[in-house]
Symmetry: C2
Subunit: 191 residues, 2 copies
Amino acid sequence: MKKLEDKILSDGIILNNEILKVDSFVNHQIDSALLMDISEDIKNHFSNVDKIVTIEISGIAFAVGVGVCYGGLPVVFAKKTISRTLDVLNSYTADVKSFTKGTLNQIRIDKKFLKKGERVLIVDDFLASGNAAIGLIEILKQAGCEIVGVSAIIEKRFQGGRKRIEDLGIKVYCPASIDAFVDGKPKFHED
Amino acid sequence: MKKLEDKILSDGIILNNEILKVDSFVNHQIDSALLMDISEDIKNHFSNVDKIVTIEISGIAFAVGVGVCYGGLPVVFAKKTISRTLDVLNSYTADVKSFTKGTLNQIRIDKKFLKKGERVLIVDDFLASGNAAIGLIEILKQAGCEIVGVSAIIEKRFQGGRKRIEDLGIKVYCPASIDAFVDGKPKFHED
């Protein structure tokens, strides 16, 4: 999606040729106009979706945008922290290692929000090694959901996440897909 | 806002006559159609807004909805955790105690996302004791922003947050405002 690629080129910052910092429009400040354009683009790549599933924190905004574009779907976000209102004993869980933070989190979704046979689209901000998406896929399989696909706003293709998910027979679409960082600039994948 | 009040009556669960659990449509699963109705309602109560500011985690979805309703405003969310992409040394900070989790968090916003004189609307999911909103107000004052108002989706009026904010001369509007829990049911405020 050219609009997002242009924004990454103009406002993204690459740290150590490894981390793409997009905090000015994705994960600290959010450009809500661009968010809706991205969400519409994602919607146009997947049909027959019943529910959007994401993982806190930065996936939430885009998952909501996509849910709105489908006309108001329920959006469920997996939790990393336990609160007084979460029913831990009745949750599906999976372990996820965070790429940017280096921490291991158990993520969980209350069983009552996933029903067998529901057609679920996974939305997140980044797809890198694929750990977060694989964790969500595990949870959705526990619940017997049908996984329509995985869509991250920005993909670092060279970190292998796409291949891990496609090897499970699940469709992946990412509005911005980066093949490599070359001389401090992202090189976008061409289909 | 009647639609939200009705949803709280039908799907909200009150724990110990103290905590209102709305995880089926606000803070674990989100009803994205209702979210846009709520966001539109909030938009209709504040004008001349440049930016939406919220705090992770559950405020993000609604802040984005409000930003979209204003035609695509930037939405900034204060962070509770430090990541490899956050510039800690160039952040405004405040201390916030969480009502539902019982924990103390330092929240922070990168200085580059708040400009002197910007007209900011604070959006969050809950207004209870007001700690989160007061923390955000402190940060916005450090940055020299003008605070247009505070809007939480659901307010527990009896916990004093509204009064603390109004005493600072800041307008508060909440689509659902609860005066008390009576016999396990919320009693909504009537203007």
